[in-house]
Each structure stands twice: as structure tokens, then as C-alpha cells.
């Protein structure tokens, strides 16, 4: 009996010691433990890999995938190529879900003291990345690089524009997109419209939309779900603003939601639904819209160039792409993810990370990435490669996105970007479902956003 008790005592004490040791230090501890385990594992692996790379630097690279297809596999391949070319550096790609998940994981890793050296995050996150000290400014690296300035100047200005925080470069464009209009040429022919003349103004959108709408088909399609509405809305506001102002100031500290131009833009959306009845009422989901377009249920949709591959492979009709039609002017929003380097790394790691970013954005590679995914190639020299030239010959619809970058502006980008997005989305939806007039909705959005941004004034 006594033996049994002793045994039991030992066992339960052991169990509680184990459990408690995992407990100390509070919230951060488990992540630290997990992150630590990952790192050791990685190190052990590389030690096995070869004795010649004993000194090899290990970099962790977090990347999100936000489009269908095999983007994750492509990233793995690119990293393998990099590691083969640079035996002294080993980049470990870690797939981190979508953009939101990636920020969550990043935050956890930072709290655990094991941030990835390089990561891809939305361009719109750069104010947050800078203000929280999660990413470092890259200006010194660019200055130290022999062709650094040349490299930066080669990026399309429309994309490079949203890499700056207070005049410093915090990110390098990588997987970038813009919104274009896809339209069904067969439907155009059917109702007597010229399939080579897509709409260029809002008035034409209404006019064409009315012709294209019938019992089984809507003329126009826009995704108004949370996380998508604010993107399209940026486009409409740019098209309707007096002097081409964006929704926010360049320093990301203030928003201008309730201007008369923007109120008109939101009213125009409601008119498409309620007055002209050429757009589905309520909220259509971002992911449903291409499906409806492919099924012939909507003739013109506003969507990302990232859907090019999907639509060109699955459309059973002839489709065209065009610039977003303009109100007072033509304009479009850009979007997508950039490269960042974590703050507080040792000098050799920073250099290795920079080398990796340069490698990933080499013209040939950026061009191939664009072909494989549908993202717009980020550098001017990409478009001089044979790869890109052949692609545009094969799929001329893809070229529109590139040409449109000249008139494109960054999407809504501020401090606390996620919260500000949510505020705008919620209020747009309140107008769409009829809880508020466009004016009330945007005034409310302005008020709420100003409150959130107050601490940065």
C-alpha cells in the first residue's frame, strides 16, 4: 500500500512540475517555447545538411498566400533556388495563412522574441509595422547597395508610392495587384454593344448596365463584403475626387471619408442597386463574384487582376478587361503585399535578408511570379523580358493592369489600418442595407476613424 502511494505521489508531482514549468512567465512563454523549438529543429537540420555550410545563416521567411493556385509551392521553389545560389545563407519559408493570419503570427513571434528575419505583409500595414517597431527602415541598405537607387527607381511608381513612412522606405513591392473591370464580350454583342468599346465613364456604366441587365443577368457586379468594399470604394472615390485626392493623407494619420465627392460615390453604388437596378441588391461576396461572372450572371465586374488566370482558364465566352471607368477622372486602387525586414537584427542577418529580397525581385523572377500568379510585375525592366512580352501576346487582357498602374493610387492606408478598414466597411454596409444614408454613413465613419487616429495627431 505504502509503495503504491509513494509511486502515485511521485507520478503526480512529476506531472504537476512539468505542467507548471510550461506555465511560468505568462502568455508569452508558450509561444517562446514553440518558436525556440522550431529554431533548434531548423538548426539541427542544417547541421545534418552539410559540413561545408557550418557558418550558414538561417533566415526565417513568413509569407501569406491570398490567391488560389500553387503560390506556396512557387515560393518554396524560389527559396530553394536562393539557397542553392547562396550556400552561406539558408532561407526557411514558413507559410502563414492569409494576410491577417500572417500579422497575427508575426505578432506572436515578436512577443516570443523570435521574429522572422523577412516577411511579406500588406503594403497598407507599413504604418503599423513602423510605429510598432516590427519592421526596419531600408534606406541605409539602399544607400549602401552599389545600384540601390537604380533598383528602387526601377519599381513602378504606382507601387513604390506606398512603401514610405515619414519619407523613409519600409517595404519593397512584391505581390501587387490592382482592380480592373472584366466584361463579357459575348453579352455585349448580344445586346448590340461594341465588345471592343468597354465603358469609360460612370454614365456609360449605367447606360451599358441597363442594356445588359435582364431577368437572368445583372449589368454590373461589385463585391461589398467587409474587406473588399473598402478597396473598390477607394477606386470610386479617386475617380470622383476634385483633384485626385485619396481617402487619407500621405502620412497615414488622417482620413477624408465624408467629402462631397465620396458621398456621391457611395450614392452612385446605391443607385446602381436601387435606382437603376443593374446591380444585385445587398452584399455579394468577393469570392462569389468571379463565379457569377463565369456563369454569365453578371456582365461587368470590378475585381482584382489576381483573378486573371482563373477567368481566362474558365470563361466559356470571350472576355475583355479594361481600365476602371471614371467619374471626374479615371483612376484605380492598388493593393497587395510587400517585403519587410524585422527590426533589431544583427548586421549580417540584415544583409542576408536584403540579398534575399533583391533575389526575389530580380526582373526575370518578378516577371515569372506575375505570370504564375496574376499579380502585376513590379519593375519596369520586367516588361522588357521575353517572358512578359510573350505573355501579353498570348493574353492581351493581362496587359491592362500594367497600363493602369500609371493612374493607380494606393488603397486606404493608415495607422491601425485593420481597424480603420473595418470602420469604413461597416459604415458602407450600413448604407447598403439601408440603415443610413450615404452622408450619415460616411460622416459616422469619419468620426469613428478620427477617434481611432487621434493618438497619432
Amino acid at each position: 500500500m505504502r509503495k503504491k502511494i509513494a509511486l502515485l505521489t511521485a507520478a503526480s508531482l512529476l506531472a504537476s512540475v512539468v505542467a507548471l514549468s510550461g506555465c511560468g512567465g505568462g502568455g508569452a512563454a508558450p509561444t517562446q517555447a514553440a518558436g525556440g523549438a522550431e529554431k533548434t529543429e531548423a538548426k539541427a537540420e542544417s547541421a545534418d545538411a552539410g559540413s561545408d555550410s557550418k557558418e550558414a545563416l538561417h533566415l526565417t521567411f513568413y509569407y501569406p498566400v491570398n490567391v488560389g493556385g500553387s503560390a506556396a509551392q512557387l515560393i518554396e521553389n524560389l527559396c530553394n533556388d536562393f539557397n542553392a545560389e547562396n550556400p552561406d545563407i539558408v532561407v526557411e519559408p514558413v507559410y502563414t495563412g492569409n494576410y491577417d493570419d500572417t500579422v497575427t503570427k508575426l505578432q506572436t513571434a515578436v512577443q516570443g522574441g523570435t521574429p522572422p528575419e523577412v516577411f511579406v505583409s500588406l503594403a497598407t500595414q507599413r504604418f503599423t509595422m513602423a510605429s510598432t517597431g516590427m519592421a526596419m527602415p531600408l534606406d541605409d541598405l539602399i544607400a549602401a547597395d552599389p545600384d540601390g537607387q537604380e533598383y528602387i527607381d526601377d519599381f513602378l511608381p504606382g507601387f513604390m508610392e506606398d512603401s514610405y513612412v515619414d519619407g523613409q522606405i519600409y517595404s519593397i513591392p512584391f505581390q501587387r495587384s490592382t482592380m480592373v473591370m472584366f466584361y463579357n464580350k459575348d453579352a455585349f454583342k448580344e445586346v448590340g454593344l461594341d465588345p471592343e468599346k468597354p465603358p469609360t465613364t460612370w454614365d456609360e456604366v449605367v447606360e451599358y448596365g441597363q442594356k445588359l441587365t435582364n431577368d437572368n443577368r445583372y449589368g454590373v457586379g461589385l463585391a461589398l463584403n467587409s474587406g473588399s468594399a473598402q478597396w473598390a470604394f477607394t477606386g470610386f472615390c479617386l475617380q470622383n475626387s476634385e483633384n485626385g485626392e485619396n481617402l487619407m493623407t500621405e502620412d497615414g494619420k488622417a482620413v477624408m471619408f465624408d467629402t462631397p465627392g465620396n458621398i456621391e460615390a457611395l450614392q452612385f453604388w446605391l443607385d446602381l442597386q436601387n435606382k437603376y437596378e443593374i446591380m444585385a441588391p445587398g452584399i455579394v461576396q468577393w469570392t462569389d463574384l468571379p463565379t457569377q461572372f463565369l456563369a454569365g450572371e453578371v456582365a461587368m465586374i470590378y475585381h482584382t487582376t489576381g483573378n486573371m488566370a482563373n477567368i481566362s482558364q474558365n470563361a466559356e465566352f470571350e472576355f475583355g478587361t479594361c481600365f476602371l471607368p471614371g467619374g471626374k477622372r479615371q483612376a484605380a486602387p492598388t493593393g497587395g503585399g510587400n517585403f519587410y525586414i524585422s527590426n533589431g537584427l544583427s548586421e549580417d542577418r540584415v544583409q542576408a535578408a536584403w540579398k534575399f529580397i533583391r533575389f526575389m525581385t530580380e526582373p526575370e523572377r518578378a516577371a515569372q511570379w506575375s505570370l504564375d500568379t496574376g499579380y502585376v510585375a513590379t519593375r519596369q525592366t520586367c516588361f522588357e523580358t521575353d517572358l512578359m512580352k510573350n505573355y501579353y501576346e498570348e493574353l492581351p487582357q493581362a496587359k491592362v493592369a500594367y497600363e493602369q498602374i500609371d493612374i493607380a493610387k494606393p488603397e486606404l492606408t493608415t495607422y491601425n489600418a485593420a481597424e480603420i478598414w473595418r470602420i469604413l466597411n461597416d459604415n458602407i454596409q450600413s448604407a447598403v442595407v439601408g440603415d443610413a444614408t450615404p452622408e450619415e454613413a460616411l460622416k459616422a465613419a469619419q468620426e469613428q476613424a478620427t477617434e481611432v487616429l487621434a493618438e497619432y495627431q
Partner: protein, 298 residues
């Protein structure tokens, strides 16, 4: 053999008891008690992503929440959703239980079929129901169109989004509650039913006068489970609507998640968590304290 005094013996007995619960106690401390106190502490601070340390601000988070119309909207949604899911899922669960209680060759199959939605993850269920609720091309809208009506696009209207989710949830939850009701029904002695039948009672009378009253403990248990479960829902909101339209489908847990992991506003999200904790305690305590006495346990 050494003899122990009574006190020593008692001490030893207690020690064994403590040691036996030590492992679970350790885990409870780590993963339940500690996080609760940590949340309560964080709820009294300003703590956002990028801040090195939480900054003490007292009850400011709570004051802000109580003044925010969004907070009250979310609370309203949560209570409304609880209201429209608990009673139906209990009624359906009880109904299913009475069906599968009958002996027939198909009993095993039918029980499995009704229980099947329970073992499926909510994420999978929500994804599947998206095909039913999808605008225009979904099963429901297609059904309406085939009747010559207009498609509803239920998930995009503030009036229908929560009821639509509730239907799905009742479908999933009823099978779970059915199991408790079934075991409750089967624990009722057959003699009581037989005696009633001899006295000439019909099956409805038996159900109303015998089964239902004797199921009271089960009802207490099931209603508490159903209520707390309905507060703990988040997966389907993420998959189906992300709170749209205009937060008409934002439930408390989703709001907590959004504050914590989208806005990285840990202070506010901890305050919301504390509110939820209190709410669940308020909901659960009186039920256990008061109703316990009025119920016949057999």
C-alpha cells in the same frame, strides 16, 4: 507497525487526495485560472500591439465599451442568437430523442444520422451551408426562384442573417442535445409508464405527465449546456459573414477575436472577455442555486 493518531491519519488521507488532484489542478491553474486573472488585469490596462508594457488605465476600457453603440449591438446580437437557438434546439432535440427511443431495425442508423452533424467541425458545416445560403446560386435561393419568388440572399440582410445562422446551428446542436434527452428518457422506469398505461393514459398524457416532469434534471443540464454553447460560437461567423452586414451578425466572441487579433487591441479584448465571463457566471449560477431544489432527481 507504527500506529498513527487520528489527526495524522486524516492528514495522510487529505494528502493523498490533494496529490490525486494535483495534475488537473496544475493544468487548471495554468490554462484556466491564470488566464482569467491575466485577462482581468489586462482589461484594466491600455495594451496594443507594439507597446512594450501594458499601461494601467483603470476602468477606461469598460467605460468606453459601455458608451459604444457597437458594443450594445453585439450584446443584443448575442442574446438574440441565444434566444432563437436554445429553445428550438432543445425542442428538436427532445423530439428526435422520442423518435429514436422507439425500437426498430433502423434505430441504430437513425441515431447515427441525427448525431452526425455534431461530430462535424463547425468550420466544415459553415462552409457547406454557404452553398445553401449563397446569393442567387445557393440551394435556398434556387429553391425560391423555382417557386417563382425573388432570391433572398439571406446572409446579406440584417433581418435574416442571424435567423439563417440559427437554423444551421439548431441543425448541428439538436443531435447533441438529443443524446442527453435520450439517456434521460431511458432512465425513466418502464414500470411507471406501464402503470399509467394500465390506468388508461394515452401516449400524449404519459409524455406530458410522466416523461416531461421526470426529465426536469435533464432539462436543467441541457439548457445550461445549450446556453453556454451558444455564447461560445465564433467559427461560423468567421466563415460565413465576418460580422456583415454592418455588424448585424457580429457575436460577442467574434468581436473579442476581432479586437484581439485583427485590431491587436489586447486591453479592449480582455475587457470584453471579462464581460463575457461575468455574463456566463450570471447565467449559470442562479440556475444551479435555485432550480436545483425544485427538481426531482430519481
Amino acid at each position: 507497525m507504527k500506529t498513527y493518531t487520528r489527526k495524522q491519519r486524516e492528514l495522510k488521507k487529505n494528502l493523498v487526495g490533494w496529490l490525486l488532484v494535483a495534475p488537473s489542478l496544475a493544468f487548471m491553474t495554468c490554462f484556466t485560472v491564470w488566464p482569467i486573472f491575466r485577462s482581468i488585469y489586462l482589461s484594466l490596462t491600455k495594451y496594443r500591439m507594439g507597446m512594450a508594457k501594458p499601461e494601467w488605465i483603470g476602468f477606461e476600457n469598460y467605460m468606453n465599451l459601455f458608451q459604444s453603440s457597437l458594443f450594445w449591438k453585439v450584446m443584443g446580437n448575442t442574446l438574440f442568437f441565444a434566444l432563437i437557438t436554445i429553445v428550438p434546439s432543445m425542442v428538436v432535440g427532445l423530439f428526435l430523442a422520442t423518435i429514436v427511443n422507439r425500437k426498430s431495425r433502423l434505430t441504430g442508423f437513425v441515431r447515427t444520422a441525427y448525431f452526425y452533424p455534431v461530430i462535424m467541425p463547425m468550420i466544415a458545416i459553415a462552409s457547406i451551408w454557404m452553398f445553401i445560403y449563397m446569393a442567387k446560386n445557393g440551394l435556398w435561393d434556387q429553391f425560391l426562384v423555382s417557386l417563382g419568388r425573388k432570391p433572398m440572399n439571406v446572409l446579406s440582410s440584417k433581418k435574416t442573417v442571424l435567423p439563417a445562422m440559427a437554423v444551421m446551428y439548431v441543425w448541428k446542436e439538436a443531435g447533441y442535445l438529443m443524446v442527453f434527452f435520450l439517456s434521460g428518457i431511458q432512465s425513466i422506469s418502464e414500470e411507471v409508464n406501464e402503470a399509467a398505461r394500465i390506468d388508461g393514459a394515452g401516449s400524449w398524457t404519459i409524455f406530458r405527465r410522466i416523461t416531461l416532469p421526470l426529465l426536469a434534471p435533464t432539462f436543467l443540464f441541457v439548457s445550461t449546456i445549450a446556453l453556454t454553447n451558444s455564447f461560445k460560437l465564433v467559427d461560423h461567423v468567421v466563415i460565413m459573414t465576418e460580422g456583415a452586414p454592418n455588424n448585424a451578425s457580429t457575436l460577442l466572441l467574434y468581436y473579442i477575436y476581432q479586437q484581439g487579433f485583427t485590431n491587436f487591441n489586447y486591453g479592449v479584448s480582455s475587457a470584453l472577455t471579462t464581460v463575457m465571463l461575468l455574463l456566463l457566471m450570471v447565467v449559470a449560477l442562479p440556475r444551479f442555486l435555485s432550480q436545483d431544489k425544485k427538481i426531482h432527481y430519481n
